[in-house]
Symmetry: C2
Subunit: 102 residues, 2 copies
Amino acid sequence: MKTSDAITSLAALAQETRLGVFRLLVRHAPKGLPVGVIARRLGLPGPTLSFHLNVLAAADLIRPKKNGRSISYSANPETINELTSFLMENCCCGRGGCRPRE
Amino acid sequence: MKTSDAITSLAALAQETRLGVFRLLVRHAPKGLPVGVIARRLGLPGPTLSFHLNVLAAADLIRPKKNGRSISYSANPETINELTSFLMENCCCGRGGCRPRE
DNA sequence: TTCATATTTCCAGAATAATGGAAATATAAT
DNA sequence: ATTATATTTCCATTATTCTGGAAATATGAA
């Protein structure tokens, strides 16, 4: 992962609305949810949600899929994995963080 | 980890200079580096670096330690671990991401 | 106490990002 | 074709964040 991609992903997540959207989609992975459902659940105006979905999608944190008249977005967990590795690259204590994961 | 703490950490890392500082300190964990050395290595003016170090420290991503006349900062890998868990919480596929780490 | 070094605070200008109403587009159902 | 629904684009306003010079503070050395 390139530095610029890492920044794009981190910046995408570093915003309350987008973090809420992303985590909602993580809970609904791998199927995803239609834009309208996300908007209703989080109480967001269409243009605002659309703007934030684009930011998340540009970071490849979520992916759109047409489904009839609506569009469902689903979380892409792979990007988070890459991001984590990038952040801890060349750490004294090896990959995956400084404490073993249980 | 609370949502507001996650946003603080993500926003701290979502900036080129700060990401560079953090990764430099990860490579030098757990000893850390003095402010002056970081400034020289990354070619940053004092006030700019000081500002960014404060943002990273406020997120508990790095920690200062006085050492004579200088101050060394070192990376705190624990925060990254918590952040990763938070982002993937309640994922369909369990903790630690949707693919097993090797 | 005076001096040199390390780091921070102050602050104002410059740059970037978020918000949501109105209008536009796309698509499927009737 | 017309209508209803879903989503996006446009865009101006507001809010937030970044930058670095000048001055201030802190600490150790001479």
